[in-house]
């Protein structure tokens, strides 16, 4: 792989990503504590402030990861240095400045100061995900425009573009265009929600997804020397399916916000198709990882990329599917069931991609030949387990919340729902701490990468790749069975949410939805955990097999 000088610019964005990630996750733990004890820091840093910071930093570090990755693959895709590197340096300064400014600005909500001027909120505007005021909005818009300009200027002539070029070019351009829809104060709630989801949905499910597919594609090409044509084919159909389903699938956000009822039909129909491209991406991950039989060179990078594709399918695909129908969404809407999907899909899909890319790119740019990969592997397991647990706590807590709040009509702070969800509020804190430990480890590891060299591989004397047992090679049929298993549990969850419509449940009997949730969520999340374990065990076995083969060759050469 040729290396380019300007690729080094990606390092600072990865560093920023790690710092913001650390703060964001610490705030997440604080949020879970505030959920358990709402008086915590009340008056100093109210829950809504912590929550806005958590959400905003989540977006910002994911974007930093994207930018870092794009700056690394841009020159590779173009076979030349990045255009206008000084603009990238400026982009970095602007990104840091806007992050700091926005973090300060959000605190103004505690005093009810939005900075109204010319009808716009210039300091902060208190809309979920779009908390940033106009000042930050404009700087961010300029930043996106710089990124789009640099990427498009760096790319070769249009006639030389493959699908990955197209995906990234459309991605960075649409990133800029979509942001504009969130830059206006709108008095009508229905119209405001309509445009708010332009930014949130079309960003996440339209634009980020395109960038995600393109980046996963190019990283697979780089890691496995996968055939660029085959990957390009997957990128095209992945992106097209994302848009075919996601364009009208956005309607699932237009169900109860004052928009007309006909959206229920379009939203239910098309967003049910949204998992298709995610299954395609998942399957391609399997195919490309088995493109050759060589051991994985950079295990942490592959772990996180696999985690990204799997959690995308499970968190965005399956959990999203369960609550995308008007008849299930009417219950899940506005409850803890929603963040179970949001956490698994946001961190899973985009966060894990950024971390995987960092593990792949940082050693390449820093020219680290050998590093101890065990830290990254352990960190992966901690964040993966922590995130599955967070999803579990939200989902089961949410199931109880739907029943007590929507079916029994109990009051929120009358002390009714709060104690009912108590166990899962505590569980959320515990899994949050596991996740935080993983993040601490991976931030430490990535920043100090190369200071610790790889421990020598275990010197097996007579080892052959297992043909049976947990580490036997994973084949397509078996992977398909795992996939099917996840979807079966997903359907159980869907029927559980659907069952709230039954007169029996509405009459006050929670047996059916509680049973479905108690089977569905743990089943889905454990299957996911076991599948990733199984996938990685199968790949690890290659390494041992090849180290045995190498010893044999060495022994033969010695003879």
């Amino acid at each position: 792989m040729t290396s380019y000088r300007t690729q080094r610019l990606s390092l600072r964005f990865f560093l920023l990503m790690l710092v913001l990630l650390l703060v964001q996750v610490a705030l997440g733990v604080l949020l879970s504590l505030q959920h358990a004890d709402p008086t915590l820091l009340s008056g100093t840093m109210n829950f809504n402030i912590t929550r806005s910071q958590h959400v905003n930093l989540g977006v910002l570090w994911i974007l930093s990861g994207f930018i870092g990755t794009i700056l690394f693959v841009g020159p590779l895709l173009s076979k030349r240095e990045l255009a206008a590197p000084w603009l990238i340096k400026f982009l970095f300064v602007a990104l840091v400045a806007v992050t700091v400014w926005n973090a300060v600005a959000i605190f103004f909500a505690q005093k009810g100061i939005a900075g109204w001027w010319l009808g716009q909120a210039w300091i902060q505007e208190g809309l979920e995900y779009l908390e940033a005021g106009r000042i930050a909005d404009i700087i961010i818009l300029i930043g996106f425009a710089i990124l789009a300009y640099v990427v498009l200027r760096t790319f070769p002539k249009r006639s030389e573009w493959n699908e990955i070029h197209w995906g990234l070019a459309i991605g960075v351009t649409a990133l800029t265009v979509m942001w504009v829809f969130g830059m206006f104060f709108i008095g009508r709630i229905d119209l405001q929600e309509y445009f708010r989801w332009f930014v949130v949905h079309y960003w996440v499910e339209g634009v980020w997804e395109v960038i995600h597919i393109s980046l996963i594609g190019i990283l697979l090409v780089l890691m496995f020397k996968a055939d660029i044509k085959a990957v390009g084919y997957a990128v095209f159909w992945g992106v097209t399916l994302v848009w075919l389903s996601g364009l009208l699938g956005n309607a699932h956000h237009y169900f109860w916000v004052g928009t007309p009822e006909f959206w229920q039909f379009w939203g239910s129909l098309f967003s049910a198709l949204e998992p298709l491209p995610l299954i395609l991406c998942f399957w391609h991950m399997y195919l490309d990882a088995h493109h050759d039989r060589k051991p994985i060179e950079n295990k942490p990078a592959f772990y996180f990329l696999l985690g990204s594709a799997v959690l995308e399918m499970v968190g965005a695909g399956i959990l999203g599917f369960t609550m995308t129908f008007a008849l299930t969404n009417v219950w899940s809407h506005g409850t803890w069931v929603t963040p179970s999907h949001a956490h698994l899909s946001m961190f899973g899909t985009f966060g894990m991609l950024g971390l995987g890319a960092a593990y792949f790119i940082v050693p390449k740019v820093r020219k680290v030949v050998d590093f101890d990969q065990r830290f990254g592997q352990l960190a992966f397991w901690l964040v993966f387990l922590g995130m599955l647990g967070i999803g579990f706590a939200f989902a089961i807590g949410g199931t109880i919340q739907v029943f007590t709040y929507r079916t029994l009509g109990l009051d929120w702070f009358g002390g009714d729902i709060y104690p009912a969800m108590g166990t899962y509020k505590i569980l959320l804190v515990l899994f949050g701490i596991v996740f935080f430990a993983g993040v601490l480890l991976l931030v430490f590891d990535l920043i100090t990468l190369g200071h610790r060299v790889q421990a020598p591989a275990p010197q097996a004397t007579d080892y052959a790749p297992p043909t049976t047992g947990w580490a036997r090679p994973l084949r397509g049929f078996e992977a398909g069975i795992w996939l099917l298993g996840m979807w079966v549990f997903g359907l159980i969850i869907t029927f559980g949410l659907l069952s709230y419509n039954l007169p029996r449940v509405q009459g006050g009997d929670p047996t059916i939805p509680y049973t479905a949730a108690a089977v569905g969520y743990p089943g889905l999340l454990l299957t996911t955990l076991l599948f990733v374990w199984r996938f990685l065990a199968s790949l690890e076995a290659r390494e041992r097999a090849s180290s045995v083969a190498m010893q044999r060759r060495t022994a033969l050469a010695g003879d």
Binding site: T39, R51, A114, A121, G126, L244, T259, V330, T404
Partner: protein, 355 residues
């Protein structure tokens, strides 16, 4: 052969992009139909509270305080607090005004009655009588009976003049919106539900502040009748469990003003929603060290905060406004509190004198 495959793939891709183009058109048409005027969805520019406060201004306040960072509105937002879409419809403007700004406890019936005197509230609902209010807004009755005087988790936000009324206009607008039947209406009464008994017990083992408070409230229909008679209010103070010295509260009606009775009354009427027991300014001035201090007045001049000044500030707050505080924020308690009760509260304020 390979060329043929490429051609097939190319035509497939063209077809896919064509379908995508069609979908864009479908989406644009649906979107246009979503916001045509004939659809009868309520818009905020047509909604006002008391014909004075606009719902769009209320939305600005709602956003300025980032309310959806804890609550949900039409189901979107965070999940710490309850959904606010139909709160206006359920609890009504007087209860919400008594709750906001919140300072640690849920409004008691006395605090609600204060808000019933508010001229904007009367202009909007035409209700001054508690029983009629409860009938119009049953959510208020349930909230007061179950939670009045109990701790709330909502932090004190220190609203500026007019902001609460603007928020009321906004919440009125969201209540009037057609949200396609969301949130679903419960088919059972959760409070009487066996599965809920366990969690209900947690709530009911706490003191319920207002069990016996309905009787005096239903007796009158005009503001003065509702609160006439110091002994009636004195009885209510005696029953409130949040006061430090409920037994002494009954003696508040006697000539000697009792700080303990004043504290009980202040708790009951929700004074601490706006006034701190320290010198800190919340919505109004803090009570700590207020007695005997010199206040410069809005429009020039000054006054010493003695018994007469403080009593006047409680009964007719807009008569003399301290500099830096907007008029029209504090309700006038003339006709709500008796002279003895005012004296008791003043005595309590005096007891907070800094040494």
């Amino acid at each position: 052969m390979a060329g043929n495959a490429v051609r097939v793939e190319t035509s497939r891709r063209r077809a896919a992009l064509l379908i995508l183009g069609l979908m864009v058109i479908v989406f644009i048409i649906l979107s246009a139909f979503s916001f045509v005027g004939s659809r009868d969805q309520i818009t905020p520019d047509t909604v006002t509270y008391a014909d004075t406060f606009g719902a769009v201004d209320g939305k600005r306040v709602f956003q300025a305080y980032n309310c959806m960072g804890c609550h949900t509105i039409v189901g979107n937002g965070a999940y710490l607090g309850p959904d606010l879409t139909n709160t206006y419809e359920s609890a009504g403007p007087a209860w919400i005004a008594a709750f906001l700004p919140s300072a640690g406890t849920w409004p008691t019936e006395a605090a609600l009655r204060v808000q019933l005197q508010n001229s904007n509230q009367v202009a909007e609902t035409g209700i001054t009588d508690l029983a009629a209010y409860y009938e119009a807004y049953p959510g208020a009755k349930e909230r007061i009976e179950r939670r009045g005087g109990l701790p709330t988790f909502m932090p004190n936000l220190g609203f500026r003049a007019g902001e609460v009324s603007e928020v009321l206009a906004f919440l009125k607008y969201t209540s009037l919106m057609d949200t396609e039947g969301w949130p679903p209406t419960p088919k059972v009464d959760g409070l009487e539900f066996p599965q809920a008994a366990k969690v209900i017990n947690v709530a009911s083992t706490r003191p319920t502040a207002t069990d016996t408070r309905n009787a005096p409230a239903t007796s009158g229909s005009s503001p003065s009748a509702t609160t006439a008679g110091g002994s009636e209010s004195g009885t209510m103070a005696a029953q409130t469990p949040v006061g430090d010295a409920p037994a002494e509260a009954g003696s508040a009606t006697t000539s000697e003003a009792d700080p303990a009775a004043g504290l009980a009354l202040a708790d009951q009427y929700g004074c601490f929603a706006c006034h701190a027991k320290t010198e800190a300014r919340l919505v109004g001035p803090g009570w700590g060290g207020l007695y005997g201090s010199t206040q410069s007045l809005e429009g020039g001049g000054g006054a010493t905060a003695d018994e007469a000044f403080l009593a006047e500030s409680i009964t007719h707050p807009d008569a003399a406004i301290a500099a830096g505080y907007p008029a029209g924020v504090m309700p006038a308690y003339a006709g709500i509190l008796t002279d003895d009760e005012v004296a008791a509260i003043v005595a309590y304020i005096r007891s907070l004198e800094t040494p």
